[in-house]
């Protein structure tokens, strides 16, 4: 009973960290605060994955998002020194229109969530092991796996070409 309430409390603290990080990633005008808030929010989402029963995906979230993507964004900020400069302020009506649009989107999604009668599948297997994951990835989903590998390879080569050649041409 006590562990249950403790877990529930930890869950809500985690949700608070996630939302605080997301707000920090969107609202401040300094880009460095944005990156720090993004890493906080991503780590919080990793904790949510842990609560959703998948320790493996939580680890992958920490490894890929917090470990790789955030570091890549930090490197992009550092490689071009004036990148931390702020862009001029936007007109108030555009900011208000953006806020209204995303607020109505949130209302629509919440309406869908609350009005739909979610029905679980008739028979559900309880196999959460990483072995099953790897087995399915190499049997039923092997085409998608290969395509993702190809996309990553093309992205790496494209990033090198895009970022490298322009420097050579301009300097």
């Amino acid at each position: 009973m006590s562990t249950e309430t403790t877990a529930q409390m930890a869950f809500w603290i985690l949700v608070g960290f996630t939302f605080a990080g997301a707000a920090l990633a969107v609202f401040p005008r300094n880009i460095v605060y944005n990156v720090l808030g993004l890493s906080l929010a991503l780590a919080g989402v990793g904790g949510l994955f842990f609560y959703l029963g998948s320790f493996f995906i939580a680890l992958m979230q920490l490894l890929i998002y917090v470990g790789a993507i955030t570091i890549a964004i930090v490197f992009a900020i550092m490689l071009s020194p004036p990148l931390h400069l702020q862009v001029p302020k936007r007109p108030v009506e555009k900011v208000a229109a953006a806020g209204a649009a995303s607020f109505f989107f949130l209302l629509a999604i919440l309406g869908v969530v609350f009005r739909t009668q979610w029905v679980p599948a008739a028979e559900r297997s309880s196999d959460w092991s990483v072995e099953t994951l790897g087995h399915m990835m190499l049997t039923r989903y092997d085409l998608v796996f290969e395509v993702i590998s190809l996309v990553l390879l093309v992205a790496i080569i494209g990033a090198i070409v895009t970022a490298g050649f322009t420097r050579r041409l301009s300097s």
């Binding site: 996630t18 969107v26 929010a41 029963g53 953006a98 679980p120 297997s125 494209g158 970022a163």
Partner: protein, 102 residues
């Protein structure tokens, strides 16, 4: 212990914050950060449906892994394009990049 609705609301709020960032900010890197937030909201949805509704719990985890791989590719390409654009325009304000505007 938590219901499906809790996780769906969390995912919706994350996605909406990301949408607000994409619409409101004009700094290219901040827009990329907001897109990452939107992808994470979608991932929370996938994992929640996987936990509460899906017949096979492995499928949602595989989809989440694929989304993470695509996000990594997108971040690499996007950041290199931002760097190239910055060298050419000396600005990361997206409204300056309008050479193709008619």
């Amino acid at each position: 212990m938590n219901t499906l609705g809790t996780y769906l609301i969390i995912g919706a709020v994350l996605f909406s914050l990301g949408l607000l960032g994409v619409l409101q900010r004009r700094n290219l890197i901040a827009m990329l950060i907001s897109v990452e937030l939107m992808l994470n909201g979608a991932n929370v949805n996938f994992m929640a449906f996987n936990r509460f509704l899906a017949p096979e719990p492995a499928v949602g985890q595989i989809i989440t892994l694929f989304v993470m791989g695509l996000a990594a590719a997108e971040a690499a390409i996007g950041l290199s394009i931002i760097l190239a654009l910055f060298r050419r325009l000396h600005s990361i304000n997206v409204e300056r990049a309008q050479s193709l505007k008619g």
